[in-house]
Amino acid sequence: MSPTTTAPRFVRADGPDKVTGSGRYTADLTLTGALVAKFKYAEVSHARITKLDVSAARAIPGVFAVLTQDDVPDVRFGPFVQDRTLFARDVVRFEGEILAAVAAVDVPTAQRALNAIVVEYAPLPVVNDIEAALSPDAPLVHADWSDYGAAGPIVRDRNDASMASIAKGDVDKGMAEADVVVHSRYVADGCHAAPIEPRAVLAQWEGNKVTIWTSTQVPFDARAGVCETLELPANRVRIIVPHLGGGFGGKCGFHYEAHVAALARATKRPVRLVFSRREEFVAPDRRREGIVFDLETGVRRDGTITARKVWLAIDNGAYTADAGFFSQLAAMHALGPYQVPHAFAEAHLVYTNHQPSGSVRAPTAPQTCWALESHTDEVAKAIGMDPVEFRLKNAVATGKEGPSGQVYDEIGLVDCIRAAADGAGYGQALPDDEAIGVAIGWWPSFSVPSGAYVKIDGDGSGQIITGAQECGTGAVMTLRQLVADELGMQAEDFELVYQDTSVAPYDMGATGSQTLFNNGRAAVAAAGQIAEQLKQLAAEQLEANPADIVLADGAASVAGTPSRSVPIAELAGIAAGGELLIGHGSGAPPAPPEVVGATCVGDVGMTAWVAPQFSCHAVRVKVDRDTGVARVLHVSAAHDSGTIINPVGATGQVEGAVLMGIGQALTEGTRYDDEAKQRNAALLEYKLQTCADAPPIDIHFVEIDTPNAGPRGAKGLAEAPNVATAAAISNAIAAIIGTPVRQLPMTAERVWSTVNGIEGSPA
């Protein structure tokens, strides 16, 4: 099927702006008298600061301010573990840590100021290896870790910033019941979100209020961070996001807004920060976490899984961003969407002297799916069973119990497996350098509070005023359709007012695939209030009962008597002279399903998954055995994301995520030198996929009538399609060369080394 030809026409409200270049991104904005901000970075991975002298920098003409931790409130912050400060305090823990911030009249002057800052260090031992960091005698990344504040349920110990476990049944008993036990080790390197737009922040104070234009995915989080670190109430901080040039999770969390606001306050001038590509690579929370996996599955000869036991350690980096719940998330992904009677998972989030990890598209999922699904193919092979058949037998299904003890209501994973395999022509005869690999994945929908307003003015034109953030997915753009459908109007009748925290109610932001799920609910609720008002007004005009009024085709009419009708624009005109057409909505977030039985799931994130999304990718790959270069020839992606409200947007999400998944599978990986510094912090050496690399991608949406989901039964879709691609590619490569490549990305040299049995960890 070719979704682009069957999908209806959909013109994004922000499309023409972005395509023609008239749209403004943060770095395009200028304010009269604005200064340039630059950061002085640590450049070393772990050291005690013995001297930090900014006096010479401050003395340079054209330098308006140089700030360090001494110049801002001494607040330790962090969403899960309060382990960081705005600027380095006493110790630097990764190369991109900010020592000082400069505001100067222009870039060369700012650069001179950076050069004039004197910093001296006493080196501390560098923690560069995830597993070594867990050993009892490993140097501590945070010597004072036990004094830090942390969110209630987080279990911490030394370099272990968040430990989570899932226990179900008796895993030893389950292993003893197995005919075969397969044990595998996999290692995933970290990788990057790499949005095309580097971060930019512009701040301006008026009196005691500050407005900050910033390229963030989470405006309300950014506001909360500014308020916490600069000790301001929420109503004096306004965050506005101009068009956002992609995020992929790399712009989640609060960063830099407070630094720039502090500079603007100190200089009494607007101040603007624009990152270079290198900064975009080394600055905090840009990175998908590396993970080390140890996986064990017991299986009977008939293909029944008897037990699964996993241990994994996640590279947290030097500070804990929103990675606090990653250990629990990774534990779920490592057990996988399988019926496993006896399960045990143990996951650690480990401090190292690397750049901190952040919520890059489906955090922990693609790498963990890669490890588990590669392992799963090893299990199927060990008992001589076809890997698709093995998955069909063991995958979670409607009414079945998953590894956390949750019993699933209507889900479409089994249909996804069939659709993806069929779409790939699984089973067809292929040349000996080609194979089709299959993998399954899952991802939760995040059920959280969210708000929106809708108003219709006297001329009948409407506005949707939403706290939601558009990061390119089109989720906010789809709100117009939802609201219009609710009111019998056209999407084009509504303009969006969004990405401004002082104008709209709260939304969690472009994170967790949650926008349509939650803000869609809010917008529909707001539109519903206006629908009631319109029906009341129409009933008066048409001398009918409000309950009999139907809103359709831009008019309100009496059910069954379409001739008794009044245009909505006319009703809007009447309302403008009386009670205005204003709706506000939030709606109760769907409650998580109950989990019963003898299962223990850590409760950092969610004990059960609301409206979980399922996927299966089947990927045809060709391997050049002589060079190890693998090339993806075709992708068949099947998704249960509930009801697909916007087919064009949904198709774009899957295509983009698949391409990102191919990059993560084959070419994208961060490399560290012996000093824990990034070796490939540039787009030539950090290899994203390009359009020329894109294979044909066939997409199959398995639309299940999902209870307890978002508007019209929709689930999320932004992260789910990034989960299974790398895993499917891995299984295809293993099928061709006879053994899995145990390190991600599966670069050409690693494939070649695996073919030739060369040990070590090549490029």
Binding site: D624, A682, T690, A763
Partner: protein, 295 residues
């Protein structure tokens, strides 16, 4: 600080004599400066509007390719892409469509990167560059031109006006391949070019092989002789792997480069031989026979 836009070779040469550096497409010079490789020269002369530098002439002696001819033109030119095919293979791999439209052959050659994609094919075709200054013209072979990474034996006042490529013998052709991890915006991990002349019986009479990104400059493989295509290809593979002097870096280890440059050399010989036989192997070979795979 000065910036002069030259419209004739003479104007450009005058500017060089006064100390300016030439900028053609700027895709090495300007991009390199932005990345902190070397600061932008204070005095620049733009040579991209000099019509004379875009000349393309074919005589019995061979091809004269103006220094200002861009990669897009070389990729698609009907004579270059069939007779001097290895050069077109190289140009077709450069960057992206926009890079191929701004980047010139003269810039590629004078930039003297060991990873440049037109270098190895020009070497196996025996090309010479024509350098011109106020004091006259001279022709220099490529082995003499490139003295190290980013270094040439050209004097600062010399402008490269053209690249001269001798006409290939009958029953001969060339090919260039590189190892790449993605299909555009890539830099050669390693690469190899071959030119092959066949005897009437289809065996190889003469062969030249040159290697990309395995030494401080493009190097030519020594000691190759004739034989069956299979034997020559195998010998080229072994000799390339042996004579390469690769480094280990973030792109690849030395061992992997040594192995894969041999593979590229073998495939280049095979592709050149097929072309010499008249088989159509489309430009670039990377896509035709696939590094990784064709699609």
């Amino acid at each position: 600080m000065s910036f002069v836009i030259a419209t004739t070779i003479d104007e450009a040469i005058a500017a060089l004599a006064a100390g300016a550096r030439p900028v053609a497409g700027g895709s090495d010079l300007v991009v390199g400066a932005r990345h902190g490789k070397a600061p932008l020269p204070g005095d620049l002369v733009a040579i991209d509007r000099i019509e004379e530098l875009r000349c393309l002439e074919f005589t019995d002696a061979g091809a004269c390719i103006g220094a200002g001819v861009n990669h897009h033109t070389i990729e698609h030119h009907p004579v270059l892409s069939t007779v001097y095919t290895g050069i077109s293979d190289g140009s077709a791999l450069v960057g992206s469509p926009s890079t191929r439209n701004v980047g010139t052959l003269g810039g590629n050659v004078m930039n003297a990167s060991p990873a440049m994609d037109t270098g190895a094919p020009l070497v196996v075709l025996g090309a010479e560059v024509e350098l011109r200054s106020a004091s006259g013209s001279r022709r220099v072979g490529l082995a003499e031109l490139w003295t190290g990474p980013g270094r040439t034996s050209a004097r600062p006042d010399e402008l490269c006006v053209a690249i001269h490529v001798p006409a290939p013998a009958a029953r001969s052709n060339s090919a260039y391949l590189r190892l790449e991890y993605r299909r555009s915006m890539e830099i050669a991990v390693v690469g190899a070019a071959a030119s092959v002349t066949l005897a009437d019986d289809g065996s190889v009479n003469a062969v030249r092989v040159a290697l990309t990104a395995v030494a401080p400059t493009i190097i030519e493989v020594a000691g190759l002789g004739g034989g069956t295509v299979a034997d020559v290809a195998a010998a080229a593979q072994a000799a390339a792997a042996e004579q390469a002097r690769p480094i280990s870096d973030v792109r690849a280890s030395d061992a992997y480069r040594r192995h894969t440059v041999g593979v590229m050399a073998r495939r280049a010989v095979e592709a050149a031989a097929r072309r010499a036989l008249g088989e159509p192997v489309s430009v670039p070979v990377n896509r035709a026979i696939g590094i990784g795979a064709a699609s």
